[in-house]
Amino acid sequence: MSDISKFSLTEIVNGIKKKDFTSEEVTKSFIDNSKKSKKLNTYITECFEDALKSAKNFDKEKNYEGLLSGVPIAVKDLFCTKNIKTTAGSKILHNFIPTYESTVTNNLWSQGAFLLGKLNCDEFAMGSSNETSFFGSVKNPYGDKLVPGGSSGGSASALAAELTPATIGTDTGGSIRQPASFTGTVGLKPTYGRCSRWGIVAFASSLDQAGPMTKNVKDCALLLQAISGYDPKDSTSINTKVDSYSSKLTEQVKGLKIGIPKEYRVDNMPNEIDNLWKKGIDYLKDAGAIIKNISLPHTMYALPAYYIVAPAEASSNLARYDGVKYGHRAKGKNLIEMYENTRSEGFGDEVKRRILIGTYVLSSGYYDAYYLKAQKVRQLIKDDFDKAFKDVDAVLTPSTPNSAFKIGDKTDDPVSMYLNDIFTVPVNLSGLPAISVPAGHDKNNLPLGLQLIGKAFDEQTILNLSLAIEKRANFKRNYKNWWT
């Protein structure tokens, strides 16, 4: 039989339904690949035995009703999974076993999928390279010296290396789209409120959103459909109809208006990125879309505003890790010293930096100067998009200002690391949906992605446009396997 792990998610779902292969055969194929992938360091927890049991069980019961019937899926270790260790890539949660299941993973299981394992990520999803994980950095299939991006780096790497047929990540400032771009995969951040945040280890609650990461656009539509929906347990999830994204998917985008924001042409952007952007414009023109130049004048203020809002919310969300109810605990002479030592030992450097920045900007006397100012800037950024979307249906930009960089290249300078999210962060601040679709390679044969930003709750349009790009770019993940 041909290698099942090479198939797309959609092909696997259909293959199981048509009895071309069994769920057990599918599961074994991904487990075999995963077992040989230690050098990539993508897994924090392997659930291979349970996955095989679930697969065998599925093959006995043959219930094909779900969107993902019989499919094993590994997920970012930021989603709480009942009775299965959930670490958020942190020492402070290295032994935490949730008593509940996140809504988004529960949605996967309700559609017939089952858990293959928990994937590495930057600690508490804070990072753009997967180097801040307590469980070590993840390697990019495109090279053993390269980062896979972050924070959903384990997810992106596992997907690109065919260790899982699809995966889900979370995106607070680009954590799905940037690693998707670095690994030649598709990643979508849904509209804020499209998917429930319940049971996801919180980073910055007004920005966090779970989303699909897949090999192609069709899979992305299918997986988005599976995880989306209102959840009474998340008061910010929105009760609107979930579209049948995959069956409505079409590359007919004739007449759609696409905005090209001049502010995304940043200083020192490599020519290759600019050329890729031009190619993307040509692809969409070829598909019949109408290109319009637009302005998003406050773009340059998005990253500084993000680095107030995200750390402020993080410092508050991470106050719960105190060594009392769960996780790591250090010794201390008294309660306060126990807290201080626990958090000092339990958190890594980047998480400490962000907690301290957040504590500083929220501390007495500074609230107006920082947090309030950032929320005003956020309003301006959102107004920019609202205004633009009166004239256009979607916005096209590069996903990242560069391709995958070398491990260790940016760890000494936090700000240079932050700049990697320059094109993705404005979307989170505005709550909009955006997708990264692979569109080409640079001169070193590293993948590059294009980003499409849509109107709130209009994921369908950006999926359709991505399909039009995918068909024309004819992108192939052409890395050489160096890890088996």
Binding site: T99, L303, R343, I357, Y370, K373, K376, V415
Partner: protein
């Protein structure tokens, strides 16, 4: 604004994170460069802007306040680094 060592000590106290002298030095440098980056916002006049309070155009729904006891006390306690039969245990607070 640069974040000097005393400020790092102050905020690390507020954040309940103990730091040694070397970490304090490094953080003073890192946090200063981050704050310098953040302060680009000062170039922008926002006097007449209303701050964003929510990015979703929907009012928060209320729900009935129901007790949903799943009787999982023992499971929850299992995650605790130190416990006795029914309680989380912390270092002695009252002398």
């Amino acid at each position: 604004m640069s974040i000097d060592k005393d400020t790092v000590k102050h905020i690390s106290k507020l954040a309940r994170i103990s730091l040694d002298e070397k970490k304090i030095n490094n953080l003073s440098k890192d946090l200063s460069s981050i704050m310098k980056f953040i302060e680009k916002l000062n170039k922008l006049n926002t006097d007449k802007v209303t701050p964003l309070t929510s990015i979703i155009n929907a009012s928060l729904k209320s729900r009935p306040d129901e007790i949903k006891d799943e009787k999982i006390r023992d499971q929850i306690l299992k995650n605790s680094p130190e416990k006795n039969e029914e309680f989380f245990v912390v270092p002695k607070v009252i002398e």
